[in-house]
């Protein structure tokens, strides 16, 4: 794609050059017409003088008298004009000495003035005047026309490249001036993320549409900032208001449990109370995380790294975890690539998928983790050998508070784990999905993240 800049400047240069060409053409045409008119006026004036001098002569013309009548005048004007006089029957009876052996052609066809290119004489304006006794032909050289022609041609061919270059240069300057506010807008827009929403596009003064556009964008940013701030304040307030009383409950419950005087029949209830407090806290934290992720105010610490290194590191921990539960973990990697992601959050996703798989695996089951890099995408899959889920529920497992098995123990989550995974993956501009195994019972959860193109 040709950038707007280049195409605009090219267009501008073509227009300017074309205008120049047309202006030179029109100028040339006008000057030419003006010169011709001047010439014709001179020819007419000259003819009047000559005709006045021969008006007394009558047919048949006496050539000797004619020569006497015209000699002095023609000598004076020979530098400018050529003369040739025919008798009424067409024979040439007189010509000016400067013609020598050359002849002026007859103007047939009615026109009394014509521009002709004559052999040896060059470009001439020839005029013909008729009286009952004679035909007078006067001619003027148009040599000065040719020099004007030449000047115009030179101006034209030299001018075009100069004008083209100048117009490109002016175009660049003009455009950079016009586009400056747009470039400022771009730079600002690129800088603005959820974390510095208070930045605004500089409003260019007196720039018409640009000013209006910048103001409009800034107003949009105001509205966005307001809603972002609301989410941030909501999560902060909720956190503070709920976590503080939860702290008090937890501190007292733990104190009770540490008391050796606690009657055994109450100990169980108090332990239950502590577990539920912890569970409530976790659920609340997840909900707040989701609220932040939904409105993109969850800060991501993006780092570029090799997928194979990252998966290998995860595999080390994951294998140990699986072994501790009497399960086997197989990690397979196909290719490697560089991806930009938040290591902490993606590890959160991986551990979440792993713990789901472990929870649903039969004793001695095999969990497979497959990482593949191809066509600019990093695909990670976790396969288990559990019972899977009904096919119509495959999409629903990523929704909030959806739990297909009853909550057995605190800490297994309230059905928010996969919802958080989905939010985290989507914050990374990736996709997460689930499908059933075809070779046996079991679930496959897959997420795809874009690889770094560079």
């Amino acid at each position: 794609m040709i950038p707007l800049r280049t195409s605009h400047i090219a267009f501008y240069a073509v227009i300017v050059t074309l205008t120049f060409t047309i202006a030179v053409g029109i100028g040339f045409w006008f000057i030419r017409a003006e010169m011709l008119e001047g010439n014709d006026f001179l020819l007419d004036a000259e003819s009047e003088e000559i005709l006045a001098r021969v008006a007394t002569l009558t047919a048949p013309l006496d050539v000797a008298k004619l020569e006497v009548a015209l000699k002095e005048h023609i000598q004076n004007d020979e530098a400018l004009f050529y003369f040739q006089i025919h008798s009424a029957d067409g024979a040439i009876i007189f010509d000016s000495p400067n013609l020598g052996a050359k002849r002026l052609p007859d103007l047939t066809g009615g026109a009394d003035k014509r521009t002709l290119s004559l052999p040896e004489l060059g470009l001439m304006r020839v005029a013909e005047y008729h009286t009952p006794t004679l035909h007078l032909q006067i001619a003027m050289s148009l040599r000065n026309f040719e020099s004007v022609n030449e000047v115009f041609t030179r101006v034209f061919w030299l001018g075009i490249p100069i004008i083209a270059c100048l117009s490109i240069a002016f175009g660049l300057v003009l455009q950079s001036l016009t586009l400056r506010p747009i470039r400022l807008m771009q730079a600002t827009a690129r800088r603005i993320t959820a974390n510095n929403l208070n930045e605004r596009i500089p409003v260019p003064p007196r720039a018409g549409e640009m000013t209006a556009l910048a103001k409009l964008l800034n107003e949009m940013m105001d509205r966005l900032e307001k809603s972002f701030t609301q989410v941030k304040r909501f999560t902060a307030d909720t956190s503070h208001e709920l976590m503080t009383p939860l702290s008090v409950i937890r501190l007292h419950t733990e104190q009770l449990l540490n008391d050796p005087g606690l009657p055994p029949q109450h100990r169980h209830s108090v332990e239950e109370q502590l577990q539920e407090t912890i569970y409530l806290t976790e659920t609340l934290e997840r909900l707040l995380t989701l609220a932040k992720a939904d409105s993109s105010v969850l800060p991501l610490k993006l780092k570029s790294s090799l997928t194979s290194d990252y998966i290998s590191q995860f595999a080390e921990d994951a294998k140990l975890l699986a072994e501790s539960r009497g399960l086997k973990l197989v990690v397979a990697q196909n290719g490697s690539g560089t991806a930009v992601f938040d290591h902490g959050w993606i590890r959160q996703v991986l551990f979440n998928l792993l713990s789901n798989a472990m929870r649903h695996s039969p004793p001695g089951g095999i969990i497979t983790c497959h990482s593949q890099c191809a066509e600019g995408r990093w695909t990670v899959e976790v396969w288990d050998e559990g019972p899977g889920v009904p096919p119509e529920q495959l999409a629903a497992i990523f929704e909030r508070f959806v739990q297909l098995t009853p909550r057995s123990e605190p800490g297994t989550g309230a059905g928010l784990g996969l919802a958080i995974c989905k939010s985290i993956i989507e914050l990374h501009k990736g996709v997460i999905s689930a499908r059933l195994r075809t070779d046996r019972s079991g679930l496959i959860v897959q997420f795809i993240l874009p690889l770094d193109a560079a």
Binding site: H240, L242, M243, V248, L251, L288, D317, L321, Q348, F351
Partner: protein, 222 residues
């Protein structure tokens, strides 16, 4: 040990102050940022427990001011997780540790102790404890003069324990240090690694493991 507790919630403040005094720590409890400023200018504390949401200002602002004045006292931030954008924000401002509400008192105590410990500890390149020898430079570990092979994670875990001998390290503390994880991983990864490490540091004639469980809190190297 003298501790300043900056906490606006009356119930939490009371509980923590009482708990600290029960384990013989001197605790001063203030409820506002203004009182905290005054207390710090008049006394020398070993640790400050700082709540972020204070009625007359943000605890993080208080911390920033203190660090600008080159106050070196250890600060443990106490707040609900989503109160600040990221707990790293607190640590970047110069906090030494961070505990999220709701917390258990055992966890708070363990962290306070390791803070003071960390403060006093010098930089050593060889850590030794009851027959365990860990060389930070060569990354070699031996147990009763027999070389022990440890994975990277096991090495980091043992190093953490050796830096805090006889102190309780909580599970979240360990997870934060070794996995840089600020969120529960929904797994018992810490327990699994401690079990592995125990297996490699076992004496046949000793029934008690060197790394002991502390019920409901975490582990400690004895």
């Amino acid at each position: 040990m003298k501790i300043l507790l900056v906490e606006d919630d009356r119930k939490i403040g009371q509980f923590v102050k009482k708990g600290l005094e029960e384990v013989s720590y001197a605790a001063v409890w203030v409820k506002t940022a203004q009182e905290a400023r005054e207390a710090v200018s008049q006394n020398q504390f070993d640790v400050i427990i700082l709540d972020i949401g204070l009625p007359d200002g943000n605890g993080l602002q208080l911390l920033t001011d203190w660090r600008e004045k080159k106050m070196a006292t250890q600060v443990l931030i106490l707040s609900a997780r989503h109160e600040v954008d990221d707990k790293i924000a607190g640590l970047n401002l110069g906090a030494d540790d961070y505990l999220t509400k709701p917390f258990s008192f055992g966890e708070l105590l363990a962290r306070l102790r390791s803070l003071v410990r960390r403060h006093a500890g010098q930089k050593k390149t060889v850590l030794e404890h009851r027959g365990i020898r860990l060389d930070l430079l060569t990354r070699e570990v031996s147990f009763d003069h027999v070389p022990v092979q440890l994975t990277q994670r096991e090495f980091a875990l043992l190093e953490l324990f050796l830096h805090h001998p006889s102190r309780v390290l909580t599970r979240t503390q360990i997870a934060e240090k070794i996995w840089d994880c600020h969120f529960d991983m929904e797994t018992n990864l810490v327990d699994v690694y401690v079990a592995k490490l125990r297996g490699k540091l076992r004496r046949d004639h000793e029934p008690e493991p060197l790394i002991q469980s502390v019920r409901g809190v975490g582990y400690k190297l004895v």
